[in-house]
């Protein structure tokens, strides 16, 4: 017995009254013939990489090709630490951590591609910030990552997480949906609220294009990592408050996939549309690549 979409995953968890992460763990173990212990250990190893990348640009600017986002993380973290922000300490730390992962990635640093290198800041930023704010145990954190990963695996199976195939909604948007589900579980929400959070996060990002300036994984990728990490948090909050999606989650995933296919290739990682194709964007391309 296994699942092929989120409603089947949800039903299996309901039937046995266990968290989504438990079903995901058992399914992974059956698929890969690895023990639960080995799966937790491997996830912990990857979480360590996420933690370093979420921290390594907070205090020092990192050198990136073309320097498009050099130092943006430190600037944001310094602003956060001063304490005089609009959206508060928690949200600003989430953004700083997401930016850090993006800056580390752009500087040829070590990251965990979750689900991709371009969207590698969203899940670490949300999980680390919740671990800190809610004072969670290691197991709760790893179960949160299992929950996020399981949702991501279903979306990879039934849609795409590639920007070249589905635009930014498929990369950063899916990362936000994965993180939103984890956030609900880590906050002690219900299985149903986890699923609603996935729906809400994807609704919020439907249609977002992939338009990297000069084709580099920097702008607007870093900003999208920060804003989609925040999307994950507010989508989780909406679900925890009791908001229900009027469209079933698997239909939203299918819609996201179809929208991705409808997007012209100019808006899917080719740097031929969106902000990449503005006069300023094209000038940056010429400056870096000399043509």
């Amino acid at each position: 017995m296994s699942y092929n979409n989120i409603s089947e995953l949800f039903n299996m968890a309901e039937e046995r009254d266990v968290p989504l992460s438990q079903i995901i763990l058992e399914t992974e173990s059956a698929l890969t013939e690895c023990s639960y212990d080995d799966i937790y250990k491997e996830m912990e190893r990857r979480y360590e990489v996420m933690k370093s990348s979420a921290k390594n640009a907070l205090f020092e600017a990192r050198k990136t090709a073309g320097g498009l986002i050099e130092g943006i993380t430190k600037t944001h973290y310094d602003y956060t630490v001063k304490g005089d922000t609009l959206s508060g300490d928690f949200i600003n730390k989430v953004m700083a951590r997401a930016l850090s992962c993006s800056e580390v990635n752009a500087s040829m640093g070590k990251i965990c591609a979750v689900p991709t290198a371009g969207s590698c800041g969203i899940i670490p930023a949300v999980i680390i910030s919740l671990e800190e704010a809610l004072n969670l145990s290691k197991k709760d954190v790893l179960d949160g990552l299992l929950c996020a990963s399981g949702i991501g695996a279903v979306i990879t199976r039934n849609a795409t997480v590639s920007g070249a195939e589905g635009g930014c909604q498929a990369e950063c948007g899916v990362a936000a949906a994965m993180a939103a589900a984890a956030a609900v579980q880590m906050k002690g929400g219900t299985r149903s609220q986890c699923v609603e959070a996935v729906s809400i996060a994807l609704m919020n990002v439907m249609g977002l294009v992939c338009d990297p300036v000069a084709g580099l994984v920097q702008v607007p990728c870093a900003q999208r990592n920060a804003s989609q990490a925040v999307n994950a948090i507010i989508s989780a909050d909406m679900a925890l408050a009791g908001m229900k999606s009027i469209i079933p989650v698997d239909q939203i995933i299918e819609a996201m996939y179809k929208v991705g296919k409808m997007l012209p290739m100019e808006l899917k990682e080719t740097a031929k549309g969106g902000i990449a194709h503005t006069p300023a964007g094209k000038a940056i391309f010429r400056e870096i690549f000399g043509k």
Partner: protein, 220 residues
């Protein structure tokens, strides 16, 4: 479900791009294993998107890092040019057109001390995955996700049967096998993907077979 959660949460890699950085490093690393011998120079012919955007994604650095044997998660990757210089290995890049190849493709040429060369053609096909499509004069296709044997032989009757006998005797199951030859009765290349790791003794036993020219094992 048929997708592992670690295919989604991962790979752990050096940024910024799974196709242009991690895939490039893996191409360099697998090509080095195919070349097998110590080399003094490595040249990279860049095609398509690799040629257009390699500078921005560190594709050039990653290719050299791979050729030096580094894995795609090795934090020394960004220093590959300096490390190559220290090891006395020359490297260069040129733009080229590779017919009918994937957008992210490269031709890698290793030059050995005796002046001989080994050429490997490969593509980075997304998410850090690669495929090798040509080795010297032979077309092939493998992803280097399973242990792989690359065998050069003379195109004579019974060679394949002797190869499979050796593998059977060592309890190794063949998952995929591909054979190509330059012309009937001339040189041939056999690529075999197996279900289990290929130990050194198997490689040695294969080398003993009549009409076999060379055998390399890539244990991924």
């Amino acid at each position: 479900m048929n997708i592992s959660i670690f295919d989604v949460t991962g790979p752990v890699m050096i940024g910024p791009s799974s196709s242009h950085t991690a895939g490039a490093a893996k191409l360099g690393r697998i090509a080095r294993l195919i070349a097998e011998r110590p080399f003094k120079k490595v040249s990279f012919g860049l095609h398509g998107s690799f040629a257009d955007t390699y500078k921005g994604h560190g594709t050039d650095i990653a290719l050299v890092a791979g050729a030096l044997g580094m894995f795609e998660y090795d934090e020394r990757l960004a220093d590959a040019f300096e490390i190559a210089k220290k090891e006395g290995i020359e490297y260069d890049f040129y733009t080229t057109e590779l017919d009918d190849m994937h957008e992210n493709s490269v031709k890698i040429t290793f030059t050995f001390d005796d002046g001989k060369e080994c050429n490997v053609w490969g593509s980075s096909i997304g998410g850090g995955q690669i495929k090798i499509v040509r080795i010297n004069e032979f077309d092939t296709e493998f992803n280097a996700t399973a242990p792989t044997l690359i065998i050069n032989q003379y195109d004579k009757k019974g060679v394949i049967s002797n190869i499979s006998k050796v593998l059977f005797n060592h309890n190794i199951n063949i998952a995929v096998m591909k054979l190509s030859r330059t012309a009937r009765g001339k040189n041939a290349c056999t690529v075999i993907e197996t279900d289990g790791e290929i130990p050194e003794c198997v490689v040695n036993a294969l080398r003993e077979i009549e009409n076999i020219i060379s055998v390399q094992a890539i244990n991924v």
